[in-house]
């Protein structure tokens, strides 16, 4: 059914985790990702939800996306997390995680092989980079993916930014603060679960054809920002993505920053040159704050709540599928994706069914 089997319902107050089987009706009614998160949010009001798209972690090109969902200022907000975190979340055995209540002391969640552990931690106060390093060291595996908050999230700043390992997510609505409110410093994920595919042969053939399309359509790499290529050390892509859109720029002997276009563009629009912007971006990521709101990371850790920024029109679809919206520029054929979902899940969804589900996001 294109998912690993479980939803983890984490009750931080009771320090308890309930494992709920994912039923076929749940997928049929909400497909996945942002739409499924909305459905779970209705079932568990006031929760923080992590979810994976229906295609996240599969052979489908660009299927790296996981989604965080929570209510902010009365509006349901979503943020995508890419890199390898969406995939690792699904492979941890938990395709969705519902986080209820507030922990009495700071904790992190450790999701692995169908086990969700709530671990007390003294990492509160550490920056995001230190936190990821310490967690990976503690848990003994460098490939562990983290969603982590810095000072911004801890102080529930209106400019807080959720960080995936070391790099900022596209968190436009300070969902990092939803972690901070609950005393959740981080979510760590690693697993070797298996994603069940209803008709693997058809599914594989369809993904191959899709990959062929992207191979001929994607003729570039990196982020189109003037002066950035000249200081780029390498270009990186998220899990199974045909477009290496992320420039990695060295800022010191052994340190660098992985660029997210929107964040760097924001800093440049504040008047910084590209080199300065990269350095400040690294500081923003360390502090877990969003450069959209200014160039002084320390000032951004205590900021009033900001107006909600809604998803762009095409994003709801991508956030439900689990595909990175950056591929939109290469024209993703939605009919092909629908066929992929049907061969993968064994469902018989129509484009109208999908549209109806997307309208709930």
């Amino acid at each position: 059914m294109l998912y690993t089997d479980l939803i983890a319902v984490v009750d931080l107050e009771e320090e308890d985790v309930e494992e709920v089987d994912i039923e076929e009706e749940f997928i049929e009614e909400s497909i996945g990702g942002a739409a499924a998160n909305v459905k779970l949010l209705k079932e568990y009001p006031g929760s923080l939800i992590l979810g994976t798209g229906v295609l996240t972690g599969t052979l489908c090109p660009g299927s790296s996306v996981g989604i965080v969902t929570a209510e902010r200022n009365g509006t349901v907000c979503h943020s995508a997390f890419n890199w390898f975190a969406g995939t690792e979340l699904k492979l941890s055995g938990f395709s969705f995680v519902v986080i209820k209540g507030k922990a009495s002391d700071p904790v992190y969640l450790w999701l692995h092989d169908e086990i969700a552990d709530i671990e007390k931690t003294d990492l509160w106060g550490k920056n995001t980079w230190e936190t990821t390093d310490i967690l990976r060291d503690e848990l003994g595996e460098d490939r562990i993916q983290t969603l982590v908050i810095g000072e911004g999230g801890e102080k529930q700043s209106g400019a807080s930014l959720l960080v995936n390992n070391y790099w900022g997510c596209d968190d436009r609505n300070a969902l990092a603060s939803a972690f901070g409110e609950r005393n959740v410093k981080a979510v760590t994920m690693r697993g070797m679960g298996e994603i069940e595919i209803d008709d693997p042969e058809t599914f594989t053939a369809q993904t191959e054809s899709l990959l062929g399309h992207f191979r001929s359509a994607v003729k570039k790499k990196g982020t189109p920002i003037e002066g950035l290529d000249a200081i780029t050390h390498r270009y990186d892509a998220c899990f199974n993505c045909p477009y290496p859109c992320r420039n990695f720029v060295m800022t010191g002997e052994e340190e660098g920053v992985l660029i997210f276009q929107r964040h760097l563009t924001d800093l440049i629009s504040h008047g910084l040159d590209v080199k300065e912007a990269v350095t400040v971006l690294g500081e923003c990521y360390r502090h877990g704050v969003n450069p959209h709101y200014g160039t002084d990371p320390k000032a951004l850790v205590t900021m009033e709540p900001q107006p909600v920024q809604p998803l762009e029109s095409h994003e709801a679809w991508y956030y439900t599928m689990g595909i990175c919206p950056i591929l939109d520029q290469f024209s993703v054929d939605r009919e092909t994706i629908l066929n992929l979902i049907n061969s993968g899940t064994g469902l018989d969804l129509s484009q109208e069914d999908v549209d109806a589900v997307i309208s709930t996001v």
Partner: protein, 366 residues
């Protein structure tokens, strides 16, 4: 013969590598579940004693001459000794002044030399010093034997090519396969190995020895597995009782206990797969992280298969031992002593999880 009544003592102590897991799985698929996992050879109460792959030097250091005499007594009294790879070297007498191992079959080892041919790959797997010369390994992976007049594939991971008039040859190395890896020049490998004995049998006193160079128990070689089981079915069960360790667990208590065990095996498994490029010399063998991960992986899959089982015989301290092993794995660096400690711990944990599995299987049969 009723295989299911056979009782097997399987050595998993010092010197044993991970290939005993393959042997257990071959037995398991054949319905042979009365397996006693032993870390010494003091009180073997079984029809077969199996010593599989690993390091015969480390084995001897652990069981000493006392253990050697116990094994000899076991065979004298009618037991069957099954040696595979290291377990085969341990039983052969192949040097004028041999180490004090079993030395029960006079033989020559074709892959013993004072001057082995030049090595072309995997130097750490090529030679093991023995007295004034070396046991060397010209090939690894799949080789072709002739067994019962027909070709049979099985993998070789350091097992000997034997020349002996003192035992009945059952299989002979006849050719290499596309997947054979050559550690020395192919023509040298052919002149050393082809035509030598791969599997032999010898009746000795009231008992018997069955010795294998290649791993007939390897999971990717089902036909070889079948022939191995067929050979074992010629052994007459002698009526040994078999009790499983542990305490009866069911319902919520079982689920909670098993989940705790799964938690720590998972933690260890993930940390072991993340160990990267470390290598450790333990005894005369080089171990890599993959070997350690194999124990966690096997244990994890067994636990998964037990999640739907209503009852099993839990071994109370197993989750705590798994927790210690996981924590040790997380902090394991290049220190070979720590790696050896972990290896020995993992062997006993994996064996206990097999016992859990067999307790569930037996309960199903009731």
């Amino acid at each position: 013969m009723n295989n299911q009544l056979l009782k097997v003592a399987l050595y998993i102590g010092k010197g044993a590598s991970h290939s005993w897991i393959w042997f257990v799985d071959t037995l398991r698929k054949a319905g042979i579940t009365r397996i006693q996992f032993i870390t010494d050879v003091d009180a073997v109460q079984a029809d077969l004693l199996v010593i599989s792959g690993g390091d015969p030097f480390a084995l001897f250091s652990h069981i000493t001459s006392t253990g050697v005499h116990r094994i000899i007594d076991f065979i004298k009294e009618g037991g069957t000794y099954v040696g595979i790879c290291a377990g085969t070297y341990f039983a052969l007498k192949f040097h004028e002044t041999p180490y004090p191992w079993l030395n029960l079959i006079d033989s020559t080892i074709a892959n013993f030399s004072l001057h082995p041919p030049p090595n072309i790959r995997m130097p750490h797997k090529y030679t093991v010093p023995y007295r004034e010369g070396f046991v060397f390994h010209p090939v690894r992976d799949e080789v072709i034997c002739t067994y019962k007049g027909a070709p049979l594939s099985a993998p070789l991971y350091g097992g000997p090519g034997i020349i002996s008039a003192d035992a009945q040859p059952l299989a002979e190395y006849t050719s290499f396969a596309p997947k054979t890896s050559f550690l020395c020049d192919r023509s040298h490998a052919a002149s050393v190995f082809l035509g030598t004995t791969a599997v032999l049998s010898k009746k000795w006193n009231r008992g018997r020895l069955l010795l294998f160079g290649p791993h007939f128990e390897h999971p990717y070689f089902p036909q070889a597995n079948k022939e191995l089981i067929s050979l074992l079915s010629t052994i007459t069960p002698r009526g040994y009782t078999h009790t499983l360790p542990g305490h009866y667990l069911s319902g919520t208590e079982k689920n909670r206990w098993l989940k705790d065990l799964k938690r720590w095996i998972s933690n260890g498994r993930l940390a072991a797969f993340g160990l990267g490029n470390y290598h450790w010399k333990i005894g005369e063998k080089i171990y890599d992280p993959e070997r350690l991960a194999y124990f966690f992986e096997t244990s994890f899959q067994l636990i998964k298969s037990l999640e739907q089982v209503p009852t099993l015989q839990g071994i109370y301290d197993l989750p705590e031992r798994a927790q210690s092993a996981a924590r040790l794995t997380r902090t394991l660096g290049p220190n070979a002593q720590k790696a050896e400690m972990l290896l020995e711990t993992l062997k006993t944990i994996t064996a206990d999880i097999y016992s859990l599995y067999f307790s569930a299987v037996q309960d199903k049969k009731k």
